[in-house]
């Protein structure tokens, strides 16, 4: 298969890359565009370290081809902060110590962001939060601090600046 040009938007910026059609989205994000915040932790779509948002929904970027998101809006962890201002969930992670080694953190933050957006305006249960991040493995924290952080944002403790 021939290489081809692909246009996509990452963190609000248009990019054009020249890729093999079989290239995974995670490879374009990390290797072609250099957004190394997004991680990889498996080859079996099991760990969630590669989670990004595509048009606002959480997607494991190792599970889709880059060409599948042509013309769509991709958000990576680098896109969460605005002009150096952290997003509510980033602040909540800091306050709750919701990360240790930090390797799962970018993916975890993206799953959390998608979950919070999907449930905006309604009360969420602890169980729903846990299910919202079920696809993300964290080997360090035991998840409970992450659940506390998501809960705090859902309860409106953190305001968007």
């Amino acid at each position: 298969m021939e290489k081809r040009a692909l246009k996509l938007s990452v963190n609000g910026q248009e990019y054009e890359v020249f890729i093999h059609p079989k290239t995974l989205l995670v490879e374009v994000i990390r290797d072609h565009l250099g957004f190394t915040g997004t991680k990889r932790g498996c080859e079996t779509v099991s760990c969630g370290a590669c989670t990004v948002l595509v048009n606002g929904a959480s997607v494991k970027s190792c599970s889709v081809l880059a060409v599948q998101v042509e013309g769509m809006e991709v958000t990576t962890v680098e896109g969460l902060e605005q002009d150096g201002k952290l997003s509510p969930i980033q602040k909540a992670f800091l306050d709750n110590g919701s990360y240790q080694c930090g390797f799962c953190t970018p993916g975890m933050l993206m799953s959390a962001t998608a979950f919070l957006k999907e449930n905006e305006g309604r009360e969420v249960t602890e169980h729903e939060i846990r299910e919202g991040i079920e696809g993300n493995i964290c080997r360090c924290t035991g998840y409970n601090s992450i659940v506390r952080a998501i809960d705090a944002v859902a309860k409106g403790t953190y305001k968007e600046e």
Binding site: T36, E43, V77, E81, Q100, T105, E131, R139
Partner: protein
């Protein structure tokens, strides 16, 4: 030795000192880098002209390498080099450097492969895909040899020989003994004491760091090598790489700024580091090697599987009289850190009780499987699973209160483990009291549900120096800039447990400044002092002491100047708190810290203030300078139809001395609980003829958010005289009690005794069936 430690009987005490920074809630110093994706791991490193490496691995558990032909691979366009054992110095390496016979691993072996997945050749190419393709073009001729996979088979007389000259495949043995064990058992028998013996089987576990093993090596024509490594000890990695490449340590720089998890699996030399370094040295180009998850699972290291025979004598009123245990561990193909796990398992198997007579014989046996090594808890989770369940069963057999029996026998402060260790601070009894209160307050939990308990303790760093480090165990250098900001250079390694933050807190407290004034530099051998790194829960105490000493040194220099500047009567004492330099007796009298620094540097002919500190334990017995203690309770419900476990809550009463970083402490507790729960009922490494059957995260289950229970901690504060500000370990020990406590919960809920890990539904159902059969036969 025992007289020596006796001299050191300080009594421990609780302090009422008010700290400004210690035990206050601060953000992790690396937090913003981590939540914004700025933190760069080895996995993220990309250098100009960088090549990608891949490793060819053995498909056989045991085979002689007859020939390796790399011609076809070399011809593939894009391939830059293919190396085999012949391209190396053939040095056998190991982390137990003091003992030549335990340095038994050539990472690219010359003669034999000893486990499935062992590296045999490595390729560097312009892309990862080409490197991968080249692996198929390497022709290896093997002579397949008979293999053996279980320690109890490998130790037999006629078993295949895995390492030439190693009789019965016994890699290391360890004997621990105090008191007259035989006499104590005889005496117990005579006096009508209760003696019980059991066999247990403890499984392996994979560290499963989210960042798989990864390294980028860059050798340059100056003869210098830089290695970005995912390691728990930049210094060990530096020394080991220099050793196998025949280079001087100082010509090797190891950088490990951010590490995606370690848990005991990342402080030996691994194939990513070694092969990338060999390839880079050959090509003078940077080479990156990242293990796939499957490679990481089949060919890194794992928690040591153990078979335990435990025989214990208890008096009818619950006095522990004697214990004798034998342990056979599945060492896998090489020694690694396994020799330490063998020792520590046997030592902590005695914890936290005052045995008058105790004997442990550990045998680490080579097999044709992936090597086993240290993993969070370092052999203690296995030891506790056996010990704490057996004691629980004995209490039940005798109709004794398990809390009372534990209290009766528990370590107390200033206790000497005969010939082994001296315990200074110890909050074990308080831990038992608190958990008993908590458990009893829960009332009746209903059918098939119960609380199981386990007590244990752990070391705050090891005293042993099998690595033969010529350096202090920990060192720190602190430099104060003209504006009062502080550069703290430490060798301790932050792998996510938060040591950079702990060190910043200790430095800020000691200097009397704020955490944001401290910039921590770690994970770079060119710029940081040598330190043994992150293992054995050692850094808070050891690196913490070094940091405290360095900061006291710097502070003394500042205060000397302040005395002169303020013209004080020498009977007055000065201190710095919250950037205010003041007379302790009259805190309003003083000056700004920034002003003092500016003046003091001027007075030193323009030299920045530099403080140095170091720590090496002396005269603290054979194991550790200090011990944490805890009791954990697991509230679990088991469905007798399916055998499925639901853990409702885990509560831990924990004595880690003075907590330094409360947010970090909770993180350690919760993280350890999830890892230890996984070990208890989910995680396993089943093999068929040495081949791992679940080498991916679909089939290897770990705890995920929905099954993680509520966790709680009751902090038992003690003051540890040997630790910085009274602190002890809080990292690994919390992994120790969970499997045992869950086993005990199952025992009380269903009346079955679980002797094998993990506690799977199949095993639970089998035990229930056996129990029914037994009752029917009665």
């Amino acid at each position: 030795m025992s007289t020596e430690i006796k001299e050191l009987k300080y009594s421990t005490f609780k302090t009422n000192i008010k700290y400004s920074v210690i035990n206050t809630k601060v953000h992790n110093v690396d937090g913003i880098a981590k939540v914004t994706g700025r933190a760069q791991y080895t996995f993220d490193i990309k250098l100009p002209g960088m090549l990608y490496g891949k490793i060819l691995r053995s498909p056989h558990p045991h085979a002689r390498i007859i020939n390796i032909d790399t011609t076809r691979a070399m011809e593939l366009p894009g391939v830059k080099a293919v190396v085999t054992g012949k391209d190396t110095l053939g040095i056998k390496q190991g982390i137990w450097r003091r003992y030549e016979e335990l340095c038994d691993e050539q990472i690219l072996p010359l003669e034999k492969v000893r486990y499935i997945g062992e590296p045999v050749a490595a390729v560097a190419a312009v892309t990862e895909e080409i490197a991968e393709q080249a692996l198929d073009l390497i022709d290896v001729e093997y002579e397949v040899l008979p293999a053996v996979f279980e320690p109890l088979d490998a130790i037999k007389k006629d078993a295949p020989v895995i390492h030439e000259g190693v009789e019965r495949n016994v890699n290391v043995t360890r004997h621990i003994e105090w008191g007259d064990v035989d006499e104590a058992f005889a005496e117990a028998e005579k006096n009508g004491g209760y003696i019980r013996e059991d066999w247990f089987r403890c499984s392996g576990q994979h560290h499963m760091c989210m960042e798989t093993r990864a390294a980028v090596s860059s050798y340059t024509p100056e003869g210098k090598l830089t290695v970005w490594a995912s390691t728990q000890s930049a210094y060990y990695t530096q020394a080991l790489i220099a050793g196998v490449l025949g280079m001087r340590e100082g010509d090797v720089r190891v950088i490990a700024t951010y590490v995606g998890g370690g848990f005991g699996g990342k402080f030996e030399l691994d194939a990513a580091m070694f092969c990338s370094a060999v390839l880079s040295k050959k090509l003078c180009k940077p080479v990156k090697i990242v293990f796939t998850r499957e490679e990481d699972m089949i060919a890194s290291k794992r928690r040591t599987p153990m078979y335990y025979y435990v025989r214990t004598a208890m008096s009818r009123d619950g006095q522990l009289l004697a214990r004798e245990s034998r342990m056979f561990s599945n060492g896998g193909a090489y020694t690694g850190m396994g020799a330490t796990a063998l020792y520590l398992s046997g030592f902590f198997h005695s914890f936290p009780y005052k045995w008058k007579a105790y004997r442990y014989d550990g045998y680490r046996v080579y097999t044709n499987t992936m090597p086993s090594t240290s993993m969070r808890g370092f052999g203690a989770p296995q030891a506790m699973f056996c010990s704490e369940q057996q004691i629980e069963w004995m209490c039940a057999d005798l109709g004794l209160d398990p809390y009372e029996v534990r209290r009766k026998n528990a370590h107390t402060e200033c206790y000497e483990v005969p010939g082994q260790a001296f315990i200074q601070s110890c909050g074990m009894t308080e831990c038992i009291d608190k958990i008993e209160q908590w458990a009893k307050s829960k009332g009746d939990l209903g059918p098939n549900r119960a609380i199981g308990i386990s007590s244990c303790g752990f070391m705050s760093g090891g005293i042993f120096n099998w690595f033969d480090s010529p350096y202090s165990f920990s060192s720190a250098v602190v430099t104060i800039n003209i504006d009062g900001t502080v550069e703290l250079h430490v060798g301790c390694q932050d792998i996510g447990q938060g040591s950079n933050t702990t060190m910043a807190i200790i430095a800020a407290e000691t200097l009397g400044v704020k955490v944001e004034d401290i910039k921590v530099h770690s994970g770079d051998t060119d710029h940081c002092p040598a330190d043994l790194g992150a293992w054995g829960s050692r850094q808070t105490l050891m690196a913490g002491n070094a940091v405290k000493m360095a900061c006291e040194d710097a502070k003394r220099q500042l205060l000397e100047f302040a005395y002169a500047e303020m013209g004080l009567n020498i009977v007055y004492d000065l201190d710095i708190k919250d950037r205010w330099v003041h007379v302790i007796a009259r805190p309003e009298r003083g000056m700004k810290y920034e002003d003092l620094v500016r003046k003091a540097i001027r007075a030193k002919d323009g030299q920045r203030i530099v403080g140095r500190g170091y720590y090496t334990p002396h005269r603290k017995g054979m194991i550790s300078p200090a011990y944490s203690y805890m009791m954990q309770a697991v509230d679990a419900e088991i469905d007798p139809e399916t055998g499925k476990i639901k853990v409702h809550e885990i509560m831990t009463a924990h004595d880690c001395g003075q907590p330094i970083n409360p947010l970090g402490l909770v993180g350690q507790l919760e993280g350890a609980a999830s890892m230890a729960l996984g070990y208890a009922y989910l995680e396993d490494l089943p093999m068929d003829e040495g081949k791992l059957l679940n080498p991916n995260l679909v089939d290897y289950k770990v705890i995920r958010a929905p099954e993680m229970p509520k966790t709680g901690m009751i902090d038992i504060e003690t003051y540890e005289a040997e630790g910085p500000y009274g602190a002890k370990e809080a990292g690994e020990g919390l992994t120790n009690p969970t499997a045992a406590a869950l086993g005990n919960a199952i025992f009380h809920a269903l009346g079955i005794q679980m002797k094998e890990l993990p506690l799977t539904p199949e095993r639970i159902l089998r035990a229930l069936r056996e129990k029914k059969e037994k009752e029917a036969n009665k």
